[in-house]
Structure formats: C-alpha cells, structure tokens
C-alpha cells in the first residue's frame, strides 16, 4: 500500500469536512419556521465526507503504479516554479495595493512578472517596461474614464 496524492487529498478533505460540520453547529438558529440555515450546508458536507471516504478507500485499493498515482518522490516540484512566482507576485501586488494603487501596483506587478517569467536583459527589460506601462495604462484609463470605476488610488499618489 502506497500513499499517493489521492490519499493525501482525501484525508485533507475529511479534515476540512470535520471542521466545517463542527462549525455548522455554531450557526445561529433564529427560531423561524422552515428550513434551518445549517440544514443545506450539512447535507453537502456529509455527502462530501462520504465521497472523500470513497476516494480514500479507492486510493488504497487501486493498485496503480506509483508514477501514475503521483508518489511524492516522483513529483517534479520545479514544474510549479512559474505558478509559485505568479502566486508570490500576486500576493505582493494585493498586499501593497493599498499603498501603491492600481496604476502603479499594476505596472509593477506586470513588469515583475514579465521579468521573472521572461528573463532579464536590458533589451527585454525595456520591452517589458513598455508593455507593462502601455497595457496597464490603457486598462486603467478604460476603467477610470470609460467605465467610471474608481480604482484604488494608493496612498503613495495621495502623498504626492
């Protein structure tokens, strides 16, 4: 019996269901007639628990070879490199959105991502800078002036 990705995911899902079912008992009951607020989520969570259990049993029972099942020693963690860069950049962008605003934050986000994903050289960086300024500038203008959406200005611009 080998532990594969499905085993881990189903255990994670079972823990998730346990926590959520437990917190469903803390949902307030205002005492109105009719269906209680916790009824529908609890049905979903119990069904989800059953399905997760089926998945767990299947993951033990299936005699699949370790590569197909995704044995952890065989996973190429480098395949997630670019995705992780995107996550990191996006978290950075969102965290500093309040200070940088959508225009500056957006330009920095796109420029940073282009540089991380596309590589660094003077020619490339110049291109990346032009792309990020033009694309975000156009989008920002369309939303601000065309669609009248007030995008986050950022404290930095306010200080200026």
């Amino acid at each position: 019996m080998k532990i594969n990705k499905d085993t881990i995911v189903s255990i994670f899902l079972l823990i998730f269901c346990g926590i959520m079912i437990n917190s469903s008992y803390y949902i307030e009951d205002p005492g109105y007639q009719g269906m209680k607020a916790s009824f529908w989520p609890r049905i979903i969570l119990w069904l989800l628990s059953i399905m997760s259990l089926v998945m767990l049993v299947k993951s033990f029972a299936d005699n699949v070879d370790s590569i197909k099942a995704g044995s952890f020693s065989k996973i190429n963690y480098m395949q997630f490199k670019n995705a992780l860069i995107c996550f990191g950049m996006f978290i950075f962008f969102l965290t500093f959105l309040e200070y940088l605003g959508m225009l500056i934050g957006g330009i920095l986000f796109v420029f940073g991502l282009l540089t991380f994903l596309g590589g660094f050289s003077i020619k490339k960086s110049t291109n990346h800078l032009i792309i990020s300024v033009v694309t975000i500038g156009v989008m920002w203008s369309i939303f601000t002036f065309g669609l009248k959406v007030i995008l986050p200005e950022g404290e930095l611009i306010r200080i200026w």
């Binding site: 949902i27 269906m35 989520p41 979903i44 399905m51 962008f93 969102l94 959508m102 282009l114 959406v149």
Partner: protein, 559 residues
C-alpha cells in the same frame, strides 16, 4: 389573450428587440468588438471561448443588460470561428470545439485549398448558427411554458440533474467530479443565508458575510488557474504562441456556400446534434463537434476520404459547434439553468443587472429575451464579415509569447474583478479560487462541476427551502412526476460513465439503455397529458424492443 393577439404581441416585441440591437450604433459597435475579440480568443491555443467571455464580463458592468449580453454573445459566436481559423491554418485547434475540424480542415489546406477550407468552415458555422437561432426562438418560449409547471421540488431535482450530468460529461473520475460539484455547492453557502439572514462559516470575518461573489470565484477558478497552467512550462511560455503561424489567405465564399448547400442533410443533422448537445447542461461544443463528425462519417458514402480533406468532415463539426451555442442559450433562457460555462457567465451578467432568468424570464423581460435571440442572429453576420480582418490580427497575435499575454491578463483580471463591487476582497477571492482551481486541475478534479455548483448552489437551497416550507414531506421529491423524472435522469447520468467503460455486449451495457428509457417513461405516465402518455408508451415499447433485440443477439451468440 387569444392566439392572434399573442402572435401580434410577440411580433411587436421581436421588432422592438430588433430595433434595440440593429438601430443602436453603440450596441452594434460593442458586438463588433466582442465578435472580433471572440475570434481572437478562439484562435489562440490555450485560450478558450469561455475564457474570452469571462474576460469580457468586467467591461459589461457599465453597460445596459442587453448591451452586455450582446457583447458576450459576439464573443461566444466569434470564438467558434476563431477556433476553426487556427486549426485550419496551423493544424492546432484553437479551442476544444474545433478539434474535429482539424481532421479534414488541415489536410484540405495542405492539399492547396486553404481558401475553400476556411470558407467551408466559416459558412458551415454560419448556417449551423442560423438553424440553431431559429430553433432557439421557437423552442425557448415553449420550454419556458413547460418550466411554469415546475414547483420547487422539480426545480431542485433539475439542479441536481444539471450537476450530475456535468460531473458525468466532464470526463475522468466520477468521484472527483462529485467532490468538485459538492465543493462548489459548499462555497455558495458561505456568508449570510438568504432565507434566515444568518451568517454561516464566516469565522468572525465581516468580509465573509456577503459570501463569495460568483464572478470572482468564476474568474479565479477558470481564467486565473488556466493562465497559471499556460505559463507552467517556462520554455513554451517564452516562445511565440504558434511556431507555425500560417499565411494570409483569401476565403472562397461562393464555392463554399454551394458545396455546403449540396450537403444540406449533413448540415441539418449536425446542427441538430449541436442543438441537442447544447441543451444538455455542461455538454458543449467540445462534445458536439466530435459527435457530429462521427455521424457524418458513418452516414457518408466516401468514408475512406475522411481524414484526407473531405468536405463533409468540415461541414459537420463546424455546423454542430455553432449550433451548440443556440442549444445552451435555450436552457438558460427558458429555465435559468446554464448549458455550459459561457451561459453560466451570462447568467452571472444578468444577475448583476438584478435579472434572474427562469421559466418566467421570457414573459417578464420579453425585450431582453428577444434581444438575446436577435443578438445571436446578428453576431453570426459579424462573424462572417470580420473573418478577413481578424485573420490579419490573428497572424500578428500569434507572434506574442504566452508569458506576456498571461502577465497582462492576470493584471486585467484583478482590475476587472475589483470593478464588480469596488472592493479589494473580491480580488483576494479570485486569487484564492485561482489557486484552488490550479491545484484541483493538477490533482485531476474537473472544474466544470465546481463552477456549476457555485452558480446553482443558492438556487438549489432556495428551492429546497421553498419545498420544505410548503410541506415537510420529503417523499414529494419522488412522488411529483417532474421531480422524479429529473432524479431518474440524475441517476442515469451518474451511471453513464460506467456504461461507457463497460464492455460491448456485457449484461450491463445491454440493460443500461432499455432500463433508462423505461425508467424515464414512468414519471411521464403520471403527467396528466395525453401527449406525454403517448410518449411514455412509445418509450416503454422502445425499451422492450431493445431488450428483445439483445436477447435475440445473445441467443444467436450461444447457438
């Protein structure tokens, strides 16, 4: 209201809707841009039509409902013709909806007839779309009338069926599909309960009280996660979108139309396959184009020519995939159940304008409903008209590397999502669901059931609450004919993947179809309508015929 008055009213509404689209230069302009964007989104491998429609959505916030929907329809219809452009010129299908077109389209191009190949694809799409548009106008109001018979029990069961069939048709592991659907339903329960106004699963965070807005979830699950997948392979992400970008060709319109009209049986058969597939929740153009191709091949006298540039092999998938769009719209317009991800987004767009589609939608919002029908027609004309121009842009766009497009679109997603409610929390929601979507895909979970779960979750709960509010007898879900009908359909759809895997000639595969037909006939028997009674009896007859046929076949095998 008598029949002639009803007819007059309907013509009035259609004329008004026609005027609101065709005589409004703003709407026409938006549709034009939408169609062009759709053609490009469909043409770029890695981008899908659904993604094109999702990315269009933020621009529609500031528009009227009809302008927004017309723009999205432009993207939807344009996307199908974009898909055919890349598969013919480069041999790489731009969207899953044009996979079967590649089988004969690309060989025809290589044999030196690129203009004819493009013309055949383009005009087959046009005619397929037109046929489905006519069916849409005729069938959607009728289906909506049927929907008026539905009580909350029936509606709840219909939603369950929509979810199970999505799981069944999304391919892969059915348990994972069901888990994805349930996770979607659960995500829709977070926040204030609409019935009692009670907070659920907020864990003390005020932001959670509003729940997860549907569009950030959708953009995260679908667009954000797709972009992450697109840049995963660093080497590929840095190279241009297409190594072979194709050359500019002149489309042979007249010759193509003449060839298609000679193959009118194939055209109609494929269009009807497309419409039917579109009506089924979750079964989209990716399925219909292959089904239609397969049927065209079976029916053709020149089977051996398929795969070598056979005209019928282009007409069938292209007519079918555009017709699928009309089929998907029928379900959305008539019952408020999205036929695929694109119509789920349109449903979301309508909700932004406080319009909830359902059986009464066509009656309550006739101008908007018929406006959608007209826009669907008009978009097909734009699709044909824009082909030559979009071909030039397509050749330019294919030179851009994926990492550039992905980076810019990720930022655009953030701006677009913020524009929905002007809150940064929505961008976090999009990011969170983007990460979930990315890892779910990596772990083999289909995303379509989760998306449908999020879209239909609140509706399911509302109908369950209404049903239990009227009567606490849960047996009514099995005793009401329509509800039972949909629940049987749900069970059939869950078993369907096992039927597909079963060996031909095995007991299970022999019994599945007749048992399903028989089971579906039972609720029809109790529907108090002579027509439905006759249909039920015919279905019972068919099921017995199937059993008899397999019995004779087995007997012959034993002997």
């Amino acid at each position: 209201m008598n029949l002639s008055e009803f007819g007059k009213n309907m013509i009035d509404v259609i004329l008004q809707a026609f005027a609101s689209i065709v005589f409004d230069p703003v709407t026409l302009g938006l549709m034009l841009v939408g169609t062009l964007a759709g053609i490009l989104a469909g043409a770029i491998p890695g981008f899908t039509i659904a993604m094109g429609v999702i990315l269009t959505l933020p621009f529609t916030f500031g528009m009227t409902a009809i302008q927004g929907l017309a723009t999205m329809l432009g993207v939807f219809v344009g996307g199908f013709s974009g898909g055919l452009m890349s598969c013919m010129l480069t041999g790489i299908p731009g969207t899953p909806s044009s996979v079967a077109t590649t089988f004969d389209g690309f060989p025809l191009v290589r044999s030196g007839k690129p203009g004819l190949a493009l013309g055949l694809g383009l005009w087959s799409s046009f005619f397929g779309g037109m046929i489905s548009a006519v069916i849409l106008v005729a069938l959607a109001p009728q289906l909506a009338f049927l929907g008026l018979e539905f009580g909350p029990w029936d509606y709840f069961s219909l939603i369950i069926f929509a979810l199970t069939i999505t799981v069944s048709l999304s391919g892969g592991n059915i348990v994972k599909g069901l888990i994805a659907g349930l996770l979607g339903l659960f995500a829709a329960t977070v926040g204030e309960d609409e019935i009692n106004g009670v907070a659920r699963f907020t864990f003390g965070f005020d932001e959670f009280r509003q729940g997860f807005a549907f569009l950030p979830v959708l953009i995260g699950l679908f667009a954000f996660s797709q972009l992450l997948t697109d840049v995963e392979d660093g080497k590929r992400a840095k190279s241009p979108l297409m190594e072979k970008s194709g050359t500019l060709v002149r489309v042979e319109h007249r010759q193509a139309i003449a060839i298609i009209l000679k193959r009118w049986i194939n055209l109609f058969r494929s269009s009807f396959i497309g419409i039917f597939t579109g009506i089924l929740p979750a079964a989209g153009g990716s399925i219909s184009n292959i089904l239609a191709y397969d049927q065209a091949k079976k029916a053709s006298k020149n089977r051996s020519n398929f795969g070598k540039g056979e005209y019928d092999g282009i007409v069938a998938p292209e007519a079918a995939n555009n017709a699928t769009a009309g089929g998907a719209l029928i379900m959305m317009m008539a019952l408020g159940i999205p036929g695929d991800i694109v119509t789920a987004v349109m449903l979301g767009a309508l909700m932004i304008h406080n319009i909830i589609p359902g059986p009464t939608f066509i009656q309550d919002e006739p101008l908007l409903a018929y406006g959608v029908f007209i826009a669907f027609f008009v978009a097909h004309f734009f699709m044909v008209g824009l082909q030559a121009f979009s071909l030039r842009i397509f050749l330019l766009v294919t030179k851009i590397p994926m990492y550039v497009l992905a980076s810019v679109i990720l930022a655009y997603c953030a701006i677009g999502v913020f524009a929905l409610h002007n809150v940064v929390f929505d961008i976090w929601v999009m990011f969170f669901f983007g990460v979930i979507g990315y890892f779910m895909k990596k772990l083999g979970f289909p995303l379509a059931p989760m998306i449908l779960g999020v879209v239909l979750g609140k509706l399911a709960e509302l109908n369950l609450a209404r049903a239990t509010g009227i009567s606490d007898d849960l047996l009514l879900f099995f005793l009401r004919p329509w509800s039972l009908f949909f629940l049987i359909m749900a069970v059939i759809s869950v078993i369907f993947p096992f039927y597909q895997d079963a060996e031909k000639g095995s007991k299970f595969s022999n019994i599945y179809v007749p048992a399903s037909v028989f089971a579906l006939a039972i609720p029809l028997l109790f529907m108090e309508s002579i027509t439905r009674l006759i249909i039920a009896l015919i279905m019972i007859g068919i099921s017995f015929y199937f059993v008899y046929k397999s019995f004779i076949k087995n007997k012959a095998l034993i002997n």
